[in-house]
Symmetry: C2
DNA sequence: ATGACTGCAAAGACTTTGCATCTTT
DNA sequence: AAAGATGCAAAGTCTTTGCAGTCAT
């Protein structure tokens, strides 16, 4: 009794939208982005497909930033930077840990590691500059 | 016009509860745990103090697990393991990255890194065993 | 045709907030 | 007494769901 998967145009558009951006979108972003081309898209469908794609391993959650869950269409190893000022999430493609780390942790602690997530938190370039501007104005 | 901080008994109890456990509690956990000794405690107060302590750097958010934000009273460098089956969050005190990594990222990408968070995701020992039991029963 | 997928709107779950009251200093 | 902290409950946000209708195979 296998459940067969059917590919609807909306489902394909949702995955494509996520994989086609590096902004690590939220459900709302996907919805707003596809609204013009798919006027009858509903937010519920976006949420349902987000879960569907995660279960299939096509996308991964980067975590919840300011109340919004953010997703990543790239599932190969890389790290993230999250701006605590504006909420931007960006890839740090050059930063990644040794391949064997997951296995090391599994063996050392006796648990089963599927993947890891390394994220740096701080203030992004843009916000640093904006802050500088504010200081200039105040001085 | 400095805002002076006043230490209420409830505020102290909330911080103490968080720092006195390694379960990486949620707001609800803190509330339920303190309820017996502080019958008139309100959830709003817990949430307000969670924000207060985060701003002061006394505690840190570990992230949102299954819809509940989880906190850590230990702010020295260490990693976490998050069980995707039961939602448990545990410390991996022996796993931590090189000290200079934050600085490296700052310089390499031109942004300001405050801290990083490394979390491993998978299935914990307990859930592995429970799964084994289920399989035994089914076979 | 059958079973999946979707739209819509209601329901849920967690968190934030306003205001009057109580505490700490 | 003054200003901060809390209780309570209402309001807010984001996400999940039930159900009837639609679409893919």
């Amino acid at each position: 009794m296998e459940r067969t998967t059917r590919y609807s145009k909306k489902r394909a558009a949702i995955l494509s939208a996520i994989q086609g951006t590096d902004c690590h979108p939220s459900a709302e972003w996907v919805y707003q982005t596809l609204k013009p081309s798919h006027p009858d898209l509903s937010l519920g469908t976006v949420y349902r497909n987000l879960i569907f794609f995660q279960e299939r391993g096509d996308i991964r959650s980067v975590g919840v930033v300011r109340g919004h869950e953010r997703f990543d269409g790239i599932t190969t190893p890389h790290s993230h930077f999250i701006c605590s000022r504006c909420g931007a999430v960006m890839d740090l493609s050059q930063i990644e840990l040794a391949d064997h780390l997951d296995r090391d942790v599994s063996e050392q602690y006796g648990l089963m590691v599927d993947y890891h997530e390394l994220s740096f938190h701080g203030v992004c370039q843009t916000c640093i500059q904006n802050q500088q501007h504010e200081e200039d104005i105040l001085s």
